[in-house]
């Protein structure tokens, strides 16, 4: 009897450890997700109310009407992620290998922007990119912006804003994966007559892949759903799918379409991640992360 109960208790133990996280996931993720799935299949209008009718056509209508914004979201998020990778890799490399006693201070600088609200930081970019500001003037001087051209309220501004806002999410995972690297591997590579470039290409980059993977996901996923940058730095011609969802929920009160749009975005991102993981090799990722 007692043996059974002991075995029971043993087998229950991991569940007890997982319980807080599980309950959290169920209450704040699974239930709302399920609720939204239900909402996305309703039909009606704000006055008459919305009722479950298995209205799958909402999905089709949403894709047909808003495919431009979907593609734009993916495009902006992808460009911003690539920009972040290009900026963050040298930075993380420097932090991991060359920063010496400045390292902690520099890391603090990387996360410093988080002390200020996201929206405020984006509003600051409104002022930086402003038509009569220093940046726009200099770019006009060197001919990158035409005489009557502008920076603010263009896709350049929106992508810049996204890239800026998500940069720390790229730097930190990259830094972690580079910092953990065994330096002796580089020595071994040079001992085997690899040039520094080859050693970088064959040793450093492959070992940084988990960081690149984590960093690009952390940038790309929230960037896809972002609407603050497009709202503050862009125009209606730069609106992303997040702006549409926000307007559907709060202005037009069209909950089913808003929910359907959210699910489509989720699906697109999941498929994207699966492909991306396949390209980088998920087994390598798991092993490297372990």
């Amino acid at each position: 009897m007692s043996a059974i109960s002991l075995r029971w208790r043993r087998s229950l133990l991991p569940w007890w450890f997982m319980a807080p996280a599980l309950i959290w996931l169920i209450v704040f993720f699974a239930v709302p997700l399920f609720n939204q799935l239900n909402v996305s299949l309703m039909s009606g209008n704000a006055d008459a109310g919305y009722h479950s009718t298995w209205a799958f056509h909402t999905y089709w209508d949403a894709i047909r009407t808003y495919h431009v914004q979907f593609l734009r979201s993916l495009e902006y998020a992808a460009i911003a992620t690539v920009i972040d990778l290009i900026i963050a890799f040298p930075l993380a490399y420097f932090l991991a290998f060359r920063a010496g006693r400045w390292r902690n201070f520099l890391l603090l600088l990387v996360i410093m922007p988080f002390f200020v609200s996201y929206v405020l930081r984006t509003v600051a970019w409104q002022l930086i990119l402003n038509d009569n500001g220093w940046v726009a003037d200099r770019l006009r001087d060197i001919g990158l912006v035409s005489q009557h051209g502008r920076l603010l309220a263009t896709s350049t501004a929106v992508i810049t804003g996204i890239a800026y806002n998500f940069l720390p999410f790229m730097v930190l995972p990259l830094y972690v994966s580079l910092e953990r690297m065994d330096r002796r591997l580089l020595e071994a590579a040079t001992d085997l007559y690899a040039s520094r470039v080859t050693a970088f290409r064959k040793v450093t980059v492959p070992l940084a892949i988990p960081g690149i993977f984590a960093g690009s996901l952390l940038c790309f996923i929230p960037a896809c759903g972002d609407y603050v940058n497009a709202a503050l730095l862009g125009t209606s011609r730069q609106y992303m799918i997040g702006n549409v969802v926000q307007s559907k929920y709060l202005d037009v009160l069209d909950y089913p379409t808003a929910a359907a749009l959210s699910f489509i975005l989720m699906l697109l991102i999941l498929v994207g991640i699966a492909l991306y993981g396949r390209v980088l090799g998920s087994r390598n990722l798991m092993e490297a992360a372990a």
Partner: protein, 405 residues
């Protein structure tokens, strides 16, 4: 092989491939079935999002006639308003004079957005935690007709008699039993004379190719479509929904030509003061304030006419402190207090007697045509339409398409 044998061998093949024993297969099938059944019942049990039952004006008026909010201590109560819409010192005076504490929250940035945030509670008949909210005509009328507001006990608001005559009887609340104007404002043409190089007078300037890409218009179709209609000589107050949809369509065509830099809410002010745009569709009171930063800014009531809107104080249904709310309403309808608010916010005050006070205390404001427009100007101003909520929704959807969201 007979058909039956074929099926059996196919089944055997299936189980061999799947490496499932028959029992496990049945078990799994049953649990899947249970799950699917559970999902289906859960989905149908999740029910639906309730709609609105409109109440007739007569019933509303009757309900308001019997209202009685007894005198109680003020306590701690909450007032939701738009940003920068009061001189905060006025709140201090209120607390000192009547006791209690007013929690003044500037959390209304957009009528629809605010409604979107509290809609669920209002629908469920739950309190939204606020004792006064300030909403613009079309949203105010929607709240009143949906039964989301509590009648005002006008016995507690004797100063309500100072409400200026033209605002006393809107169609949706003819006796002002559910609402009292907070401020009124005109939507018109603001421009930076240094960038335009000349004075402007007409609504046509919004659509003039000369300013292509250097114009912002308001994303609220009541304003943008309203002004576009005035340009064509249509009265926006009495126009039908079809006229509005045409006007929204026209704004959309202009937008696809790149005429407008952005659709904005109140945030056009940054672009206008920074010189990013030459022309903005703007609210009169904002521009009075902006002029002190940038003297090149001008606001005109266009020659074709301007839109005139009222922001209304209302007590949400189930509010916990209706008496405190009424005392506050009474307080801000004292001409001296109304003058202090007007002197700070520079909008058009709905309270009679304010101008006389300001001519004495702050003549610059008292003489300002944007804050105290003369009779001829006011005659050119047109109120918002009284469309049904279904028609409002149509216009919202059409405008959302135009603004790209």
């Amino acid at each position: 092989m007979s058909d039956r044998e074929k099926i059996e061998s196919a089944l055997e093949q299936f189980f061999a491939d799947e490496r499932l024993s028959r029992r496990r297969f049945l078990g799994r099938g049953a649990s899947l079935g249970l799950m699917a059944g559970g999902l289906a019942t859960a989905i149908s049990a999740c029910g639906s999002i309730e709609g609105v039952t409109k109440r007739r004006l007569g019933a509303l008026q009757q309900a308001a006639a019997g209202v009685n909010h007894p005198k109680v201590p003020i306590g701690t109560w909450e007032f939701s308003n738009w940003p920068l819409y009061i001189d905060k010192k006025v709140l201090k005076t209120f607390n000192q004079r009547y006791g209690g504490t007013v929690k003044y929250v500037e959390d209304i940035n957009d009528n629809y957005e605010f409604f979107g945030k509290v809609r669920q509670q209002l629908q469920d008949g739950a309190p939204i935690g606020r004792d006064i909210v300030v909403l613009t005509d079309y949203m105010a009328s929607r709240w009143v007709s949906s039964g989301y507001t509590m009648p005002i006990d006008r016995k507690n608001v004797p100063n309500g008699k100072n409400l200026t005559a033209t605002l006393r009887s809107p169609g949706w609340d003819p006796k002002r039993q559910y609402s009292l104007p907070w401020q009124t404002y005109a939507t018109g043409l603001a421009y930076n004379v240094k960038l335009t190089g000349r004075e402007l007078r007409s609504i046509r300037e919004f659509f003039n190719p000369e300013w292509k890409g250097r114009v912002t218009v308001l994303s609220d179709w009541h304003d943008s479509a309203g002004l576009a209609m005035l340009m064509r000589g249509i009265d926006p107050t009495t126009a039908t929904v079809d006229r509005y949809l045409e006007a929204i369509d026209y704004v959309g065509q202009q937008n696809s030509k790149g005429q407008f830099r952005r659709f904005t809410g109140n945030d056009y002010t940054t672009d206008l003061t920074k010189g990013n745009v030459a022309i903005a569709m703007a609210y009169s009171g904002d521009v009075v304030q902006l002029q002190s930063d940038n003297p090149n800014l001008r606001f005109v009531f266009p020659e074709e006419g301007a839109m005139l809107a009222i922001d209304n104080m209302m007590i949400p249904e189930k509010a916990a402190h209706p008496y405190a709310a009424e005392v506050m309403m009474n307080f801000v309808y004292e001409p001296e207090i109304a003058a202090r608010i007007c002197d700070y916010v520079n909008y058009i005050s709905p309270v009679d007697g304010v101008r006389e006070i300001l001519l004495r205390t702050d003549p610059g404001v008292g003489r300002n045509q944007l804050i105290f427009p003369d009779k001829a100007t006011l005659e050119r101003c047109h109120g918002y339409p009284a469309l049904s909520s279904g028609d409002e929704l149509l216009c919202n959807q059409a405008m959302a398409k135009v603004t790209g969201a």
